[in-house]
Symmetry: C2
Subunit: 195 residues, 2 copies
């Protein structure tokens, strides 16, 4: 290919996670040949999302406002705070329809191999958030991977030392799996059996 | 999720071929959390490509100019015209470094099940292009799938009736393969076309 606009598009598509050279080419040709409207929409959605989306000041998830819709929902129980790694994990828990408290989204997890320590995952904002005088119980719902467990362990120690009740999702979630991909029934059980 | 900007982005990403709900979510979160610059670039590349890319007036591939770089290359042999289904197929043939003629890109193939007939794949522009008085041989390099074969068959009839020499890529045993694992149809063709 010697067309800069096409090469630029393929190059930009390759930056998406899980997309290699062949997939990026296929996507570019598809958009140009069959779905130019889709390409325009995607461009608009990307620009809009990058401009609008920021982090909720209370739970750190993505939102277009100061405070996200979950945090500002008065029907939510403010005495329960559930700590998850990603917004995708939060969405999975929401779909299980068995939790009515609030969330804190770490946007990451401790990963010593990648040089991600306890500070980089927002432990300080979490401790501050959990110390608002309303939160009574912090449910650690990080993944049951080695890194998720490590994150939960580190956070549990810090939270307990501040006198908070700390629970962990019940085992029942298969070890080694990401929350996002666990079936909803298992998630509901894990919430009910938290300890 | 109840964030319109995020939902819009996920929805737009789902229109990419091979991207489902989970992948689209993963892409959206990745871009927002780790690669906002990549998101901006992708938006720019999409807008630019949709504005700039059109079809080469001679071979129908994507180009930013009236005539693509291959068609306007004087070192190319204008007596040979190779017909392919997609720009990706053309790119594969180019990488083989064994063809120095020109191309015609159908941008599709006959597919009766999808209602794509011989008219929808640019047969008329191909016939016009091949009848320029310079082209002597048309090489049909459509895929060796049922649909590719059907396309080649239909085009061969039309081209031959206009007095053009029509050839098809050779069928045979792929390089690097064990005879034991080659399918019987391919073996039968390889035997029949032995040289």
């Amino acid at each position: 290919m010697t067309e800069p606009a096409l090469e630029g598009l393929v190059e930009a598509l390759r930056r998406l996670p899980g997309v290699g050279q062949k997939s990026a080419q296929r996507m570019a040709f598809h958009l140009l040949q069959h779905d130019r409207d889709g390409a325009r929409r995607l461009a608009g959605a990307l620009t809009h999302a990058v401009q609008q989306m920021r982090h909720c000041q209370r739970c750190h998830t993505f939102t277009e406002n100061e405070i996200c819709s979950t945090c500002s929902d008065p029907r939510r129980n403010p005495r329960l705070l559930c700590v998850v790694e990603t917004p995708a994990d939060q969405a999975a828990l929401e779909r299980s329809n068995s939790y009515l408290g609030l969330y804190f989204v770490l946007m990451g997890r401790i990963s010593p191999l990648d040089g991600v320590g306890v500070d980089a995952i927002g432990a300080a904002p979490l401790l501050e958030r959990a110390a608002d005088g309303v939160v009574e119980e912090v449910i650690l719902a990080t993944g049951f991977t080695a890194e998720g467990e490590l994150t939960a362990h580190a956070l549990a120690q810090a939270l307990k030392s501040r006198g908070l009740k700390v629970t962990r999702l019940a085992r029942g979630v298969p070890a080694g799996s990401e929350l996002e991909y666990v079936d909803l029934g298992t998630l509901a059980h894990a919430l009910g059996d938290r300890r």
